[in-house]
Symmetry: D2
Subunit: 346 residues, 4 copies
């Protein structure tokens, strides 16, 4: 049994980790820490857990929590993970940070976009970007995982084959992404207030969203060259789900069939990434609650562009599910352990 | 392994059976029949199953399907189950009807409310009403299960302790129930059209809903006397979930604490029924996708009434999950097999 | 032109007043006060007003605001209206309080349910409960209007004819009410957080909601006797709308037709209250954005109960629209001025 | 008074025309035709009209309806307008077609994309594309108006200044558009079924949507050159609203400020088009139920692209409201008559 703890268990990502780990047969939950709810039953904060989870939230005594665990998940806002990662590293324990602090190769880029000091740049080179479909081998040998952002997950999976096989011009990429409101977390805000978010769609952070450099870093590695993308996130009146619609100019002539063949080959052995039949465009509800990523694409001969759409559940493949997929790799378990379930539809 | 088939696999209830049976370790799916989609991959009709379900829909050759199965689930509209049940009975196979045809002790009541000939009344006495928390022993010895309706499930669980212990006046019961739109199925209708159902709440079938006699039959058995209820269903702008708010006049003096004690005792060993802490009123989202039923109640001393609210997921505890719970009983498996999961929140 | 000011213009009720007054040809907006947004353009806070409303929010200098106005609308949380009403009364100006402070005949009941000192009980006898369909004449002669709560409006309109004509037993009344989230205002709260309210229904304040004594006071006056009701509010995953489902035992024998005739006669000249055809149950979306109240009812001969459903838009007939209807009466304008518009459907 | 009739009054667009014309002081409704509901009260089909609209639906005797009208609105599916337009033209009456049949300069393009014979190409040269902000003068002199599609309205308004002033490369334009479900009309379809559309986002018609040639035609005229766009529509879980997010490569160097100045000048006298303050991105709920179009934009110096978002209500500025704006121009009324209202928020 893997002894696992969660630092920051009472946000939506922490809760989703608990829900998913509950059905993972190789994990024993040790400590669930919470600043706001210390001493309370987690099932009192989240009554969906009533009868299933009997843990209490504990204070965040990091050395102690790390000490009793084989693995620590960090589900804190960015800027708060470094100390936990340092402690885990010092104690020789494995750690998966679901925040942004360990996703970047270069601390300067992190600091420029996140406007905080990193405080632990020396560990960045030890961390692996935890997108298993791209970095499977490295992940399995790592101790520190920077779990990808939700938007970048949907986007990198959507573009990886096209960039790797030089189907598209790297600097032509435009990504229009749509997210459910749970992506903004449980923190109260007017933009997440039901009355303001319901029956509404809007763009936000246009040209300035912090996932942009993460997307560019990872796509650039796959493309083998630096690139810049336009990335525009939008808020949707729904709880879960991200749909990324991706546009890119073709390098030379390609048919839909040819590009589909490349994607098919790239993903045919992947348990969680599914290229849908031609003409069947991904619906976020089809991956609701699952670790799946649904893809489809078309070459538009009128404009010589490739158009891809990619759907995930932001809390699962975009956060907690992917973290568990990474955990399975870290501990040499079958990668799909505890994660094989279809989306909940309807 | 139980060889199970589903007659009518392409409605929402059939789909939910497939989703839940997929993770049940003792079941092997044999035939999934469908009139409308014969020959098609189920995962093409419901792409959430992509990569998980490789079955094709087959035509409904009932003798053949029954013959190859240990158990048949019927997920057809009411009025279509009798032939399947007769065939199963003749072949000595077990059958769980998720429709209304085998829920009634008296065929005449069924015919009066459903306005169709039953056509198989001789089998009604062989059928058991499949609410495990009430009829566990009988279910385990039966061959034909009439799986309860979604509304009745939430209501009978909500009222059973109060009626059994004569806390309330049987004829004072008023039930105001709220359901998500999936309860109306996949059949296209204006009342299920997004644009008409969104941002809207309305009552329907006031005083005439077909679940009324089913509720009265089961509550009457628990109360030990005939009773009549007011039952008003409402449509909610959401996909899944039923919340039943139940009002009844107290017989004599009771405190909230006393009634809670009765409910606690009645349900303390039930894996799926949870009495929430005082003052924490059930939210349908807390049981979303799960087989759980959340209850709470209060005695209002101003009006001398007991008020109970009861939340379930109409497609799980209100249909497919309960059917699997019944299957576990029929085949002497632990009752919770394949069903132990918390609600998906958020 | 009526010079009107709004104290607390930046809540949803204040905003709805601005939206509706904008199309009222006899009103000139003077001051819009706001504690939080003083000095800002209202159209910057609420960009739907861009190009329509050019007012800035001002500080709440009450004597000055009252002095320059013929009428003051108060759209503050309860407990904050007394000083404004006292000032208006002293200056001989008219005032409509959209909060609860001037709805009660007896200050003690207010204080018992709202748990605050009233601080201006001497003015309660000068205030009129502003439900025009019931109190039209008194309103037209008053200076202080206690504008009804949203739930009470839907409920009193739903029950008035039945109580006045002694169709039902006063103490048998049970009200199950469903409200959109805007009823909870713009103040951030977990229960109004999109992710928690979406795809969810729950009861709240069971047996303890503050609208209970207001409902009882007004129904009691119509019935001519004191009465107690069960009132259970529920939160619905939608922005606007209240549906109240009302149950009451019949006094003697009544048919649906007879009760419909009473309701028809009671409301036939009312511009905003509409009894729908038999069997057509009110949908909240049908009154969305309008000052209308839709009613329907049925006598259930099985249980000898009358069941009524009543739909309003909580922000219009349940708040700002009704306030303007009251204003029209106060200033001897045609009562429907600025309010005649059908619900926005779809 | 303008005598106006609506051919096809019982779809959502027809209903919205009725709702908006109801408050237009210069219009008298003559005939409301309907194939499906002939002889019924419109307020019985759409009970939101109860007490406001007393018209009955009549059969579509086109010569008679045209004869008694000064203006005919056609709210039929594409392919059904030609006969009505021919009749109106023959009788010298004005006609506004809200469908696609009279939006194209070249019938061949219409036929290629819509896959039907046009049947009245000789009248295309008499028709004017009814986007008042672009074609105001021509509209006022026309007899046949092809009322723009909902997507094209949001897009052409979003791009007109940038194309006219050569800010962007015409062939670089990518449009990612998001629409509420009412855009798909009242016809029952699985994609508009509540349970399938709720909690879901998906692209559809990728590269093949019929609004593409309409967008290209109108943008091309403004740009002064032929162009091709990528246009991807998406379905959103909401009733009303379109948000178009538009990406285009800059021609030369531009700052956000410079482009804002161009947009400001272009639209400063427009009553319905509003450029929001820098950084305030359009929300569809802000224009809900109104004839307004909200715009904002930013120059992204990292990628040298202009990004614009444009929000309208698809049923108002995207259909019925724009038709009434055109009517006002046709009959020499102030263009804003009956249309000046802010969006309904919340």
């Amino acid at each position: 049994m893997i002894k696992a703890s969660i630092i920051g268990a009472t946000g939506y990502t922490g809760l989703e980790l608990v829900r998913l780990l509950h059905r993972h047969k190789n994990v024993e939950l040790k400590s669930l820490t919470s600043q706001s709810f210390e001493g309370q039953d987690l099932s009192n904060i989240y009554p969906n857990l009533k009868g299933y989870c009997f843990e209490k939230c504990v204070e965040g005594d990091i050395p102690k929590v790390v000490g009793e665990s084989d693995l620590v998940f960090i589900a804190l806002p960015h800027g708060h993970s470094v100390k936990v990662v340092q402690e885990a590293y010092a104690q020789g324990k494995k750690v998966i940070d679901l925040g942004a602090d360990f996703r970047f190769d270069e601390g300067d880029i992190y600091e420029a976009w996140y406007k905080v000091d990193h405080g632990g740049k020396e560990l960045l080179s030890k961390a692996v970007y935890g997108l298993p479909e791209i970095n499977r081998t490295k992940i399995s040998q790592a101790n520190i995982i920077g779990n990808p952002g939700c938007y970048p997950t949907s986007i990198v999976l959507g573009l990886a084959p096209a960039l790797k096989y030089k189907v598209v011009e790297p600097n032509s990429i435009i990504i229009d992404a749509k997210s459910g409101v749970s992506g903004a977390g449980r923190k109260l805000a007017l933009s997440s207030h039901f009355v303001e978010a319901n029956e509404n769609v809007n763009a936000y952070g246009v040209g300035t969203h912090r996932h942009t450099p993460e997307i560019e870093q990872e796509l650039g590695k796959i493309a083998g060259e630096e690139l810049k993308v336009s990335f525009t996130p939008h808020l949707m009146p729904m709880t879960r789900g991200i749909l990324s619609t991706i546009y890119a100019s073709l390098r030379g002539d390609w048919t839909t069939e040819q590009v589909r063949a490349i994607y098919h080959e790239f993903y045919q052995d992947e348990p969680f990434v599914h290229l849908l039949p031609e003409g069947q465009w991904p619906h976020t509800k089809w991956v609701y609650g699952s670790n799946n990523c649904h893809l489809n694409l078309v070459v538009d001969p009128r404009t010589n562009r490739l158009i891809i759409t990619s759907a995930i559940d932001n809390l699962v493949k975009g956060a907690a599910g992917q973290a568990i997929q990474n955990m399975n790799l870290l501990f040499d378990l079958p990668e799909t352990t505890g994660l094989l379930s279809p989306g909940m539809f309807p």
